[in-house]
Symmetry: C2
Subunit: 417 residues, 2 copies
C-alpha cells in the first residue's frame, strides 16, 4: 500500500506579494539523482510548486528533505537580516511529496485531482517525467518489467495528463536513442535506432516513449486542439557531479555501474577493487580509451528548467522552440522537440581517472582489459541546437564535476543511508 506524505502544508497561502502565483509542476522520479538536482533548481526560481512522485525503487526520500532544506537555507541567506520570507516564497521551497508508483494509475489520478480546479487548485501546469528503470544490463534480463515501468507507465501518465487537461511535458530521454552512430558530434536529426544488434531493452523503451509522446503532440494538431500538447524531450549524455554543498548527490543501488561514481566509491573505500579495469586502450581516440560527453548535473538540471519555461505558450522562448519541430524520421507536425544535453566535447576514460586522482588524492591503479561489447569509441553531443534555441549552456568543467562528486562522497560515504 502506498502512503502519502507531504513536507509542506503551505499550499494554500494567498499571494501577498502580488507576484505571479506558483505553477504546479509534477516531477516523476523526483527523489532520484537527476530528479533531486532538477527539483533543487526549480525551487531556486521561486516560480513553481513542486510535486514529487516517486516509488523510491532506486532513490531515497531523504534526498527530497535535503533539497527542501537546502533551498530554504539559501532563501533565508538571500534576504536582508530581520526580513522573513514571504508565504509564497516559503511555499515555493516546500515540496509536496508523494510515494506513488506511476503504474498505480488511480493514485496518480487522485494526485492530479487534488490540485485541480474542482478542488480549488489551479491544476497541474506541467510534468517533468523522469521516472524509469535504467540499468542497461538488467533490462535484457527482465524486459517486461522495463517495458511496464518505462513504457506502460508513460502511456498511463500521458492519459491522465490528457484527462486533466495538462498538456506540457518535459521527457527524460537519453543519447542511447541514437544507437551506434556514424557521425560525431551527434545532431538531433540523427535517426533514432530501435533495432540494431547493439541496442538494449532500456534504449528501446526510451525510443518508444519518444515516439508515443510525439504521436500525442501530433494528434493535437489533427484534432485542432486549442491547447495543443507540447513536449520537449531532453537527450542526456553523461551527467556527473553533485550540488557543491555535498547535501545531495548520486546514490547508486549496489555497485556503481558508471565510471565516475565507481571511482568515487573506490576512493572512499566502499568499493574494494584494487584496480580499475579499463575496457580497451586501442580505440581511435587521442589516448586510445573511450570518450564520453560529461556534463555537470546542475547544468543538466538547469536545462530542464529552461525547457519547462519554453512550454509557456506565447513566450518568445516558446515561439522559437516550436517554430520548427524536430526533423526526425517521423516528420512530426506536432509541438514536439528534442534537444541534446551535453557539453559538446568529450573526455576519455584516462582523463576522467586523472581528474578524479587530482580531486580525491587517491592513487587509482588501472589495468587495461579487452573491449566491452556495445561500447562505441566516442559519444559526443552536438549541443548547438539546444544552445541556439533554448540558450542552454553547460559551463561547469570536469574539475568541478570531480570536486563536487568527491565532496558529496566524502561527506556521505554510504549516500543517504
Amino acid at each position: 500500500m502506498s502512503t502519502t506524505t507531504t513536507l509542506s502544508n503551505n499550499s494554500t497561502f494567498t499571494n501577498s506579494n502580488a507576484k505571479e502565483p506558483l505553477k504546479n509542476v509534477i516531477v516523476t522520479g523526483g527523489a532520484g539523482y537527476i530528479g533531486s538536482h532538477i527539483i533543487y533548481t526549480l525551487l531556486k526560481t521561486h516560480k513553481y510548486k513542486v510535486i514529487s512522485i516517486d516509488n523510491y525503487h532506486n532513490s531515497f526520500p531523504a534526498a527530497l528533505t535535503r533539497v527542501s532544506e537546502l533551498a530554504l537555507t539559501e532563501l533565508k541567506a538571500s534576504l536582508p537580516t530581520d526580513t522573513s520570507p514571504s508565504p509564497q516564497d516559503l511555499d515555493s521551497v516546500a515540496i509536496d511529496v508523494y510515494k506513488c508508483d506511476l503504474l498505480d494509475s488511480s493514485l496518480v489520478r487522485s494526485i492530479f485531482s487534488k490540485y485541480s480546479s474542482q478542488n480549488g487548485g489551479t491544476g497541474i501546469w506541467g510534468v517533468i517525467h523522469l521516472s524509469a528503470y535504467k540499468a542497461v544490463g538488467e533490462s535484457s534480463v527482465i524486459p517486461l518489467t522495463y517495458y511496464a515501468n518505462n513504457v506502460s507507465a508513460t502511456i498511463s501518465l500521458l492519459q491522465i495528463m490528457q484527462d486533466f487537461g495538462c498538456h506540457r511535458l518535459i521527457y527524460s530521454s537519453s543519447a542511447t536513442v541514437y544507437g551506434v552512430v556514424d557521425e560525431i558530434p551527434i545532431k538531433e536529426t540523427t535517426q533514432r535506432q530501435i533495432e540494431g544488434k547493439e541496442g538494449s531493452v532500456y534504449g528501446r523503451t526510451k525510443v518508444m516513449c519518444e515516439l508515443i509522446v510525439e504521436d500525442l503532440c501530433e494528434s493535437s494538431v489533427l484534432t485542432g486542439s486549442t491547447t495543443p500538447f507540447q513536449a520537449i524531450s531532453l537527450r542526456y549524455f553523461n551527467p556527473a557531479g553533485a550540488h557543491p554543498s555535498g547535501y545531495i548527490g548520486e546514490h547508486p543501488r549496489g555497485r556503481p555501474e558508471n565510471l565516475l561514481p565507481l571511482l568515487a566509491h573506490m576512493a572512499v573505500g566502499t568499493v574494494k577493487d584494487p584496480v580499475l579495469k579499463v575496457f580497451g586502450k586501442d580505440y581511435p581516440t587521442p589516448d586510445g580509451t573511450c570518450v564520453r560527453d560529461y556534463l555537470h548535473i546542475l547544468d543538466l538540471a538547469a536545462g530542464h528548467v529552461i525547457a519547462l519555461q519554453a512550454l509557456e505558450e506565447g513566450s518568445e522562448l516558446n515561439n522559437r522552440v516550436f517554430a520548427s519541430t524536430t526533423e526526425t524520421g517521423k516528420g512530426s507536425k506536432g509541438r514536439f522537440k528534442a534537444y541534446n544535453l551535453g557539453k559538446g566535447h568529450g573526455m576519455s576514460v584516462m582523463q576522467i581517472v586523472g581528474a578524479m586522482r587530482e580531486a580525491t588524492e587517491f592513487d587509482f591503479k588501472t589495468e587495461v582489459v579487452g573491449r566491452r561489447r556495445g561500447d562505441v569509441p566516442e559519444l559526443i553531443a552536438d549541443p548547438a541546437l539546444a544552445r541556439a534555441e533554448l540558450g542552454f549552456d553547460a559551463p561547469r568543467d570536469l574539475e568541478t564535476m570531480c570536486r563536487d562528486l568527491w565532496n558529496w562522497q566524502e561527506k556521505n560515504p554510504t549516500g543517504y543511508e
Copy 2:
C-alpha cells in the same frame, strides 16, 4: 463491471477415449472477424479447449455462439448415425467465453488462475493474442488509446503469462510493420519500420509489440530458462471472405474501411454510395490500380493453427521453425519467429471489383479519383518461408473469397445485429 459467462460446463470430463487431453488455449479478441474463424479452425482439430477473452469493442458475442454451433453440427455430421460424440469431443467444440478487457489485469489473472494446477487444471498451454484496435486513421487521432490497448495490454498479458508459467504465444502482426518497402514481394528479413512519414500509430503499436515479444524470448536465453518463451508473429496481408456456411463473417463497426467489405455492403444496400471511388489509376501496375495480397480468412486461420502446433516443444515442426530465428535488425537469439501470411500474388482494385461484380451480380460503378496519402502501389507477401518451415498454404482463390463474403453478407445484411 465485466461479467463472466461460459458456453460450456464440460471442462472436467475424464478422457474416456484415451486421447490426449485437450490443451487450454486462450484466444484474445476471439469474437472478432479473424478471431472467430481461428477459433472455428481450432475447434475442428478437437485438440484444444478454447478460452475466448474479448471486450466486444469491435466484435459480437454472437460470433462465438455461432462458431460453437457450427463446430458441433459438423462434429455430429462426421459421426455414423446412432453414435454420440464423446465427452472430450463435445468439450472440444465448446468455448469458454469471458467478457474481459485485457487492461483489466486482475480479471485476466483470475482467468489464468481458474485453469491453473492450483485449481485442478492443466494450466494455459498457449495464447493466441489477436485483440487490438486496428483503425489506421483513428489511431493518429487517439494515439494514447491505441498505445494503451495495443502495447500496454500486450505487456500486461505477457507479464501474466510469465507469472503463470505460460510460455507459448502466437502474435497477430501485420504487413504494416514493413512500412513502405523497396522490394516486392516482401520477405520477413525486411527491416521493420517504426518511423517514416507514411507510418501510422497503429503500425507503430504492431512493431513495438513484436520487439517486446522478441525481447521476452531473448531474455529466456539470457536467464537459461528450461522452458524458454516461444513466440511466432504472423504478419497478415489482406484477409478476406468468410466461412462458406455464411454463419460467421466480418462485421465492421460503422462504414467499412476495406475494399471487399465495402463492396459487399454496397451490393447488399447497407452502404448507399452510388459509385466506388478508386484512388488512383496511374500506379505502375498492370491496370494502374493498387495491388494487394488477399488471402481467404480460413487459410489465414489455418496458418494460426499450424503456428500453434509449432510451439509444441520437441516436435519436428518446432525444431524446424526455431532452427533459425528471424533475421531482423535486432539479431534476436531467442525463440522468436515471424512469418508472412499471404498468397504471394496480388490482386488489383479493378480485379477485386470485377470478382465482386461476378459474385454479387451487382453493377458496381467506379470513379477514379486522386491517389490517397500513404497508399503504396503493391503490397505482396513472399510466403516462401511460411511454406517451407510451417507448411503453410493459402489455396483458396479470389472467386471463393468473393463468393463466401457475399454468401455471409446476403444472409446477414446487418451482420450479427
